[in-house]
C-alpha cells in the first residue's frame, strides 16, 4: 500500500511538480506582498518564501511569470475555474527584492497586482520576500529624513537632469554641514532604484535613530548617460557620466545643500555597473572622493591606486551566491598594501537588492570617520 502511494505520488510529481509540491510541503499562510498595489490580493508570499501569482486574462492561451527557481523559464500559470491564471513558484525565493514580469500570449507585461520598479531599462513588477533581518530597512516609528528630487542644470547634456538627495532627520533645523555619499544604481536601473528598491532612506533613518551612524547626505543620479546594452558593458564610456557627476552634480549639491565640500567628506559607491563607474571615476579623480565602495561591482588592485594617501577607506561587498571570494582576496591584498579596506558578504543572497541594502548597512558606519 505504501509503495503504491509512493508510485502515485511520483507519477503526480513528474506530471505536475507544482501541484505535488503544494500538496506536501507548502505552508498555506500566503499573504499579499508588501509591494502590491493598493487593495490587490495577489501576488502573495508565504512564510517559506514561496510566491503565488494570480493573473486575470480569461481568454489567454498562455500565462507565465519570470520568477521561479527554474531560472529563465520562470513559472507557468494554469487556468482556474473562474478564468484566472494561478501558480506557485517551484521553490522558495531568496529573501529580499526581486524584479519580474508576466508573459501573456507571447507579450511581456507587468503584473497588475504589483508595484513597478525601474530595472532592465523598464518599469518592472517587483516583489519583496520578507527577510529575517528586515527590520533594518522597515518603515519604523523614528524621525525620517527627506528625499528631495532635484533638477540640476547639465550643460554637457544640454538638459536639466534629475537626482534624488536624501537629507537626514534634523537637517532642516540644524546649521551643521554634512558629508555626502554619491551612490549609484546598476545596469538598467535609474536614480529611483536606491530609494525605491534599496530603501536607502529608511536604512539611514533607522541607523541614525540607533546612533549607529553619523548623519550624512546621499545623492543618486542616472548613470547610464550613454546607452549600453546588457552584456556589452565593456563598451561603456565613462566620460559623459563622469562629467555630469563631477563637473555638474557635485557643484550643484555643494551649492544647494549644507555639505562639507571636500574630498575627505565625500564618498562614492555603486552597485554592479555602478561599482564599475565608481571604480573608474574614483581612480580618474583621486582628489574628489576619499571613500570608495563597490557593491557586487568589482574590486580594486593596490597597484591601480596611484596615491594611497588620498584613500581613506575602500569597501568591497557581494552576496554569498555571487563568488564573494574575489572580494575577500582583493580586500586582503589591499590590506597587505596598507589600505584601509573592508569586505562584507551578504549571507544567502545573490545579485539582488537585499545584498545591497545590507552592504549599505555595513558600509555607512565606516564612512567619514
Amino acid at each position: 500500500m505504501k509503495n503504491t502511494l509512493k508510485k502515485i505520488a511520483l507519477f503526480t510529481a513528474l506530471s505536475s511538480s507544482i501541484c505535488f509540491a503544494q500538496s506536501t510541503s507548502i505552508v498555506e499562510d500566503f499573504k499579499p506582498s508588501s509591494y502590491n498595489q493598493p487593495q490587490q490580493e495577489y501576488p502573495q508570499v508565504n512564510s517559506q518564501g514561496y510566491v503565488r501569482f494570480k493573473i486575470i486574462a480569461p481568454a489567454a492561451d498562455s500565462v507565465r511569470v519570470s520568477l521561479g527557481l527554474g531560472g529563465k523559464g520562470g513559472t507557468k500559470l494554469a487556468k482556474t475555474e473562474d478564468g484566472s491564471w494561478m501558480a506557485t513558484t517551484d521553490g522558495p525565493m531568496d529573501e529580499g527584492f526581486h524584479y519580474y514580469n508576466v508573459k501573456i500570449d507571447g507579450g511581456k507585461f507587468n503584473d497588475p497586482g504589483a508595484l513597478n520598479f525601474y530595472g532592465s531599462t523598464r518599469w518592472e513588477s517587483g516583489i519583496e520576500i520578507p527577510a529575517h533581518d528586515q527590520d533594518f530597512y522597515a518603515l519604523n516609528n523614528v524621525p525620517h529624513g527627506h528625499v528631495q528630487q532635484v533638477l540640476f542644470p547639465s550643460p554637457s547634456t544640454n538638459t536639466s537632469r534629475r537626482a534624488f538627495v536624501y537629507t537626514p532627520p534634523g537637517y532642516e533645523k540644524s546649521k551643521d554641514k554634512y558629508p555626502v555619499l554619491y551612490l549609484q544604481h546598476g545596469w538598467g536601473e535609474d536614480e529611483t532604484a536606491w530609494m525605491n528598491q534599496g530603501k536607502a532612506n529608511l536604512i539611514m533613518d533607522n541607523m541614525i535613530a540607533e546612533g549607529k551612524v553619523k548623519p550624512f547626505i546621499i545623492v543618486n543620479t542616472y548613470g547610464m548617460t550613454n546607452e549600453v546594452k546588457f552584456g556589452k558593458i565593456r563598451e561603456f564610456k565613462i566620460e559623459p557620466f563622469q562629467t555630469v557627476l563631477v563637473d555638474e552634480l557635485i557643484p550643484y549639491v555643494d551649492n544647494h545643500f549644507r555639505t562639507i565640500a571636500k574630498s575627505s567628506h565625500r564618498a562614492m559607491a555603486g552597485l554592479s555597473m555602478g561599482g564599475m563607474e565608481t571604480k573608474t571615476i574614483t581612480l580618474n579623480k583621486p582628489d574628489v572622493f576619499a571613500y570608495y565602495g563597490l557593491l557586487s561591482g568589482g574590486t580594486y588592485a593596490p597597484e591601480e591606486i596611484k596615491d594611497k594617501s588620498k584613500v581613506k577607506m575602500i569597501f568591497l561587498s557581494a552576496g554569498s551566491k555571487e563568488r564573494p571570494e574575489r572580494i575577500l582576496d582583493a580586500t586582503a591584498k589591499l590590506k597587505d598594501a596598507g589600505f584601509n579596506a573592508v569586505s562584507y558578504v551578504s549571507d544567502k543572497t545573490g545579485h539582488e537588492f537585499l545584498t545591497w541594502r545590507r552592504s549599505l548597512l555595513a558600509m555607512a558606519p565606516l564612512l567619514f570617520k
Copy 2:
C-alpha cells in the same frame, strides 16, 4: 466616377472607419509620446493628436486600448504581419494628459511602452498629447525648485504618511519664510499626481522665472484616508483626512520648513474629489486657510461660509467640456455677496489634467496677495 468612388469610400468607412480615416485624413508625422519609457517607440502621437498604439503579444486573440473617441469601447487593435498589434485612435484626443490601459484577452494590463501614473486606484499607462500652450508646464532652462518626499508621523492612522513638498528655487539659500498651498489630488489618485501628471513643480518654476508669481511652497498628500468606491463619493467621511491634514501634516510642515504659519498665508485647493475635500475642510476649519480653490471640484454658496472676513479669495475652475456654467454662476453669486471670487474655464478640455495644470497657472498668481 466620382459617385462610385464616394460610394466605395462610404462603404469602406462603414466597414472599417479606422482604416478609412487613416487613408484620408491622418497626418503621418507620428512621434513617440513624451511619456514613453526609455527607448520605446510606441505609443506615438501625431501633430493632430491622434494616438497610434503597438502592443507585442503574438499569440493573443484580442487586444484593445481604453483610449479613443468611442468612449468606453476604446480602440481595437489589429494584428500585423510581424505578430504585433496596432491601431490608431478613431479621432484626435484632447490636448494634455490621459490615463489608459490595455485589454489583452480579457485581462487589464498596462502598455509596456508607456510610463505609469497613479489613477483609478492603480498605476495606469499615461500619454501626453502636446498642447498648444505646453510651454507653461515644460521642463525649461530655468532654476528648478526641489520636490521633497517627507514621511510625517500620523498618530491618528498609526503610521508614517507620505507627502510631497515643493520648495521654490532659492529656498535653500534664502532665510525667508514662505506661504503654503495644500493641493489635493482626485479620486483614485494619490500624492504623486500633482507633480507627475500635474507638473505642478514645473508650472511653478516657470512662473517664478517669469516673475508671475511670488514663490510659495506646495504640499501634496494622500486624501483617500478612508477608502471609497467611485460613484459612492457621498459615503466619503472627511474626518480621518481632516485630522491627518490639519492636526498632523500642517504642524509637521510648519515645523520642518520655513513657512509663514498662519491662515493668511495658507491655501487649500483640490481637483475633483480633492475639491470636495477642500470645500468641506475649509468650511469646517475657517481659521486654518484663507484661500480656497476648487478645480473641477464643486462650488461654494455664499450662505455656506459663516465668516466672510476670514476668506481672502475663492477660486473656482472647470474645463469647458464639463458644464463650466455652474462655476461661472457660483462665482457671480459669491461676488454679489461680497467675496473675492475668481472663476477660470480651461478651453476645450474636460475632467483631465490639462484643465488642472491651467487652473494652477490661473490660480497661483492670485494667492497670498
